[in-house]
Amino acid sequence: MSRAAIAHPRPLGQAFRKGRPALIAYLTVGYPDLATTRRAVPALAAAGADLIELGIPFSDPLADGATIQEASFAALEGGITPAHCLGLAAELAPQVAVPLAFMSYYNPIASYGEEAFCAQAARSGVGGLIVPDLPPEEGESLEAACARHGLELVYFLAPTSTPERLALVAKRARGFIYLVSLTGVTGARAALPAGLEEFVGRVRRAAGPKPLAVGFGVASPEQARRVAAVADGVIVGSRLLQLIKEDPTLGKVTAFVGELRRALDGMAAGKGR
């Protein structure tokens, strides 16, 4: 890799700006193929995404619903490895102005080696890691490896999280806190749960100024607006993969991200953090 191609990691916090709810887009790398992901990342950034999560496919995605499972299996069938994901990030980071994060289950990272993976991720211009099966209790060594390489490790909170866990995650999370909107797996839902606002409020009181982004189940501009009314960011994943499957030319998915962007921008400005 030439020196010029080495990107500096962009902190995930750059996605969160006062008065502009952050739109976070998740893609499974290599779904339906690497070339599509290569085109999709700059296209989604141009359409209004503020942060892009590059999903590293895993054989046993415990926290994912049917859509991301299918995408992961298809990507693995296509031979996608963590090395491909690191390479793609290195290629894309200089092309986009928004931060990139890796979303990966823990085992592919552990297998690559925490230290080596973090070093390579940072060199590739990735700002942080999101690991859905790694609670803070098991995260100390990866956190340390992230810190050594200037990466941020994002932790999760769920509606089931107790006050003790809110405090624990608030203390340990870097970049932002990923709020799981519902008790369940990822996947587009017709409706978000009634208790969402109360849940975000509880986290807000525990987490102070740390940005809060809500994901799982968000699939429409209306839902995105509802989330952004209380949180700092909205995460959309499964719906994007469905639209990429329907239209691999990316017309539908970029139109949808544009729609989400406008929905968020159209909200009353000045929601203060």
């Binding site: 895993f58 054989s59 046993d60 995605p61 415990l62 926290a63 619903g65 499972q69 299996f73 693995l76 490895t81 963590p82 090395a83 823990y106 085992n107 592919p108 990272i109 552990a110 297998s111 690559y112 859905p132 099966d133 790694l134 609670p135 209790e137 098991e138 932790y155 999760f156 909170l157 769920a158 509606p159 089931t160 999280s161 107790t162 866990r165 995650v169 799981v180 008790t183 369940g184 797996v185």
Partner: protein, 396 residues
Amino acid sequence: MNLPDAGGHFGPYGGRFVPETLMPALLELEAAYRAASAAPAFWEEFHALCRNYAGRPTPLYHARRLSQKLGGAQLLLKREDLAHTGAHKINNTLGQGLLARRMGKGRLIAETGAGQHGVAVATVAALLGLEAVVYMGEEDVRRQSLNVFRMKLLGAEVRPVHAGSRTLKEAITEAFRDWVTNVATSYYLLGSVVGPHPYPMMVRDFQAIIGQEARAQALSDYGRLPDAIVACVGGGSNSLGIFHPFRDDASVRLIGVEAAGKGLDTGEHSATLGAGRPGVLHGSRSYLLQDEQGQVRPTHSISAGLDYPGVGPEHAYLKDTGRAQYVAATDAEALAAFQLLATTEGILPALEPAHAVAHAAKLAPQMGREQLLMVCLSGRGDKDMDTVAQALGVKL
């Protein structure tokens, strides 16, 4: 040393690698288990059910003809095949079923490979008046159709899982997804010493009744402890159950037998400890059959109950510390052992413990005639008739 530690670790293994949604549930489960475990009434009810319902203690049977035929150690069979539902799985489901009821959870979720755990869950659900949903890989539904029917007769709902290899691994993943979604009302009754803390500890504690009985039986019937104990290892619950009460008896060799499938060199096997390396699957760190990229590898065994790429974290610890030794037996060796036990002792074992019998048959001739070799006969073979007939080229 009392393991696991407070975080559920056995040395570097174990722990809780789960989505945040489940962390509070695991902490609640651990607290409920510790409270139940400290209540004498809980264990009294467990032991009463083991005795009056499950038919415990199971015999420790001296297999004279088999011992004679092998020409070495005396084989002692711990007859878990005689427990209610036909396998050791009932010990754990009675314990966890009582715990679920104590926690006020009306719905049991379970995974099953061979179907023995699923049947034991369906049984306990009927016994305790709870609802049961059992996830089972499509491939296992096919090769264990009798057990599927048994579960349905017992009132359980069986949900086939179509993803991936369509075996136990996917069934566990799907059961976790159900639990993530229905965590407030449901109890995940995991069937082996795998998964996140507290399962490996809790399942071991309930299955330890096997070893506690066997140890007392050996002392009372033979006046001494066995020289070696052999048990099969898939997730590892019957083996850990029989090993655990002997862990401080340094004179007793502990030997786990994994499934070598078509042979370790073919790649088509389930010998996690023999051929895997440490990794994280289904909530805990242990040995794992995985490729160079950390993707979990497909496995194979003639026995559905051993066909799993992971293994309980305490086994990983026992392997690394050298307290237990792990070997493997192929499909063909298990099948031969199945026939050997049938014709010399009149016992049709399940294909899982047939792997243990296969290793015992290799080990016994190397031991003296006065030595005692204990084998955990974890289940009976009725469920495997189709598989065995097919393997022997017999059309039923």
